[in-house]
Amino acid sequence: MDRQDIIGRFAEAAQDPLGYAKAWKARTGRQVIGSFPMNFPGELAHAAGALPMILQESDEAITVGHGVLFPFYCGYTRSMVDQAARGRFEVLDAIMFGDHCVQLLGMADAIRMKLPGTRVIFFQLISSMNDPWTQGRSEESFAKLRQELEEFLGRPVEDAVIRESTRLFNSNRRLLRRLYEMRKEGTAPLTSVEMQHIVKSSMIMDKAEHTALAEKLVAGFENGTAAPSRGLRLHLSGHFCQAPKPELLAMIEECGVTVVGDDLFHGFRYISTDVPEEGDPIAALARWYMDRNTGVPCPTRVQNNVDWDAFLLKAMREERADGMIVLMAKFCEPHMYYYPEVKEAFEKADMPHLLIETEHEGMALESLKTRVETFVEIVKRREAALA
């Protein structure tokens, strides 16, 4: 299987997550558990023998879902409710809901209403990250989640099995982080769309299957020669719950941009942090949850000693990025609230950045292209003027 075949397999799952889940279920006869982004520990559902998959925004237009959720909810929540209302989630045996955003809570209620027959497991995440009680309360949450899963599946989820799943998930994350390293060095010249397919499919596919393919992909790039980046080196930031539309990512790169790093959820954010493999597995998951916010800070979490903007500037120095494009999903409140801080920090650091607001309903790509091209021209001319 060559590199393009592997990426093609990832792309298939990324483009049709529910189709993949149906085929997996038919093949294995096991349960599929959907979950919300962004901090659900798939390791637990995996250890319970189910397929954990992060539910994805669909690229279909929102239709009957309009009758359930107001249009000022973000595209992800509206798309999820629409998919539920149109019967697209039939393959799911249960859905895990987290509470990291008030819109997700609204969406959870709407989906509960539309899918009365589907088991809903609610999972509370502590949002205040550096209080003395955060670790303990997070452990309680994860323990409760494990208990609910055991009740639902009718079998215990043993510590040893959770550790095994943890090791598998960690090795998958490590492989994908290696790809990020190689992309930064230039030895794995993956496009942003390819990178999205790779990471997004790891949220959906059977972890062992995905890891086996990722191993082959990484091995194919090891010992490669670093190709010099031809375009302007940019970092992509933002977009939490939903993946940016592939056509948007492709358009950005068509404007003479080489994406050298990102903190997108369907990117580095998802794979940034490993779960400790030793000790109590539930305490390890709680530690992982807390470490994720120091690994790649998230505006939905509260942590006084962590700054997203400082993280971004540091990451960009390491990536030798010339600027950043911020992708903000329309009505994403956590991002909207935090963005002014990022803007201020970037202006102070004299680091160019461009904000693009994205919409589920699609965007005028030609007009956006003009904005991205202008941004590229500004950065290049500024650099030429300074040289």
């Binding site: 965007m363 005028a364 007009s367 956006l368 003009t370 904005r371 091209e373 202008t374 021209e377 500004i378 001319r381 500024r382 003027a385």
Partner: protein
């Protein structure tokens, strides 16, 4: 080395061409109206400019395109966005300008320019064409007034009406409704221009209000748009003599920069002679004395004659014998 550069602004409703000489002096410009994405219109504007200057495309050292159809021109060596080009052209027309408002056929943009004349920030309409030339075109049709006379008509507005919708189609509905209520066309058109001004002010707010402010693009020729934007901004707008060609001029100037950078080590024969003459003067031990062995300068001659046995004479002999 060639002696001219060309800038082409392939806009959505008009095509503009500017030809500059290597000193940056405008030798020709042309504006051609065209149909949607029409290659004929752009060809017409190029031909008009070339004919005006008595030149051919082969005389151009660099051709840079901008505007909506910038990627569609094969003869362009490079293309830049209209934001970069309008900023460059507007600052060349009005040195010291810090804000450029450009309202074209299908988009409107506000560009903040830094101390070096480079784009610092920009904002543009990214959802719909409300507040652009197309918006005015649609509404002119709705009130059955010639587009060129729309501005004059709107300047006569007495009563302040409000057009609340920012969608061209919904605004048309509002206009029809106001006319049906018996409001005169002048007042209704005044309200339309006030709506454009409010939208422009919103874009200005995104990049920061500063002056001097230059207005470019086709809508700058509409006196009511200028009046209402000045009122909304509470600042005067500087209108270049030819606001429509700012983008093409900017494209030509960027082409000129590129061309000069590429040929910075090459000079014309006249420049070469001037340098040698300067060197001769610099070497003179007595002021006014031109006693330099390599050049025998007769002040009555326009071009100094190579001295027999001098380097230039030897080179000339060599070239003739090759």
């Amino acid at each position: 080395m060639k002696r001219y550069v060309m800038g082409i602004d392939f806009g959505s409703t008009t095509a503009k061409t500017v030809i500059l000489d290597l000193k940056g002096k405008r030798v020709a410009h042309a504006v051609a109206h065209m149909g949607a994405v029409s290659g004929d219109g752009v060809k017409a504007s190029i031909k008009m400019a070339l004919d005006q200057a008595g030149l051919t495309q082969a005389d151009m050292g660099r051709t840079v395109s901008t505007g909506y159809g910038r990627r569609m021109l094969d003869m362009a060596d490079k293309n830049y966005t209209e934001i970069t080009c309008h900023a460059r052209g507007a600052v060349a027309m009005v040195p010291g300008a810090r804000l450029v408002i450009d309202i074209g056929g299908q988009d409107s943009k506000v560009i903040a320019v830094d101390d070096n004349g480079l784009v610092a920030q920009f904002a543009m309409n990214d959802r719909c064409a409300a507040g652009t030339g197309k918006f005015l075109e649609v509404l002119a049709r709705a009130v059955e007034v010639d587009l060129d006379k729309l501005g004059e008509l709107a300047l006569g507005a007495r009563e302040k009406l409000k057009i609340s919708s920012m969608c061209a189609t919904f605004a048309e509905t509002e206009v029809i409704s106001l006319l049906a209520e018996g409001h005169p066309k002048t007042d209704v058109m005044g309200a339309v221009h006030a709506a454009i001004a409010a939208r422009t002010l919103g874009l200005v707010g995104r990049v920061g209000k500063k002056g001097p402010v230059v207005m470019t693009g086709g809508v700058a020729r509409n006196p009511a748009a200028v009046h209402y934007i000045e009122q909304a901004l509470d600042m005067p707008l500087i209108l270049p003599e030819l606001p429509q060609i700012a983008g093409a001029l900017g494209a030509a100037l960027i082409g000129l920069d590129d061309y000069r950078a590429e040929y910075k080590h090459q000079i014309t024969e006249a420049e070469d002679m001037a340098r040698e003459e300067q060197m001769a003067e610099d070497k003179a031990c007595i002021p006014g004395c031109r006693g330099v062995p390599e050049l025998a300068v007769d002040p009555r001659e326009k071009q100094p004659a190579p001295r027999a046995g001098g380097l230039k004479s030897l080179l000339s002999t060599l070239q003739n014998n090759l």
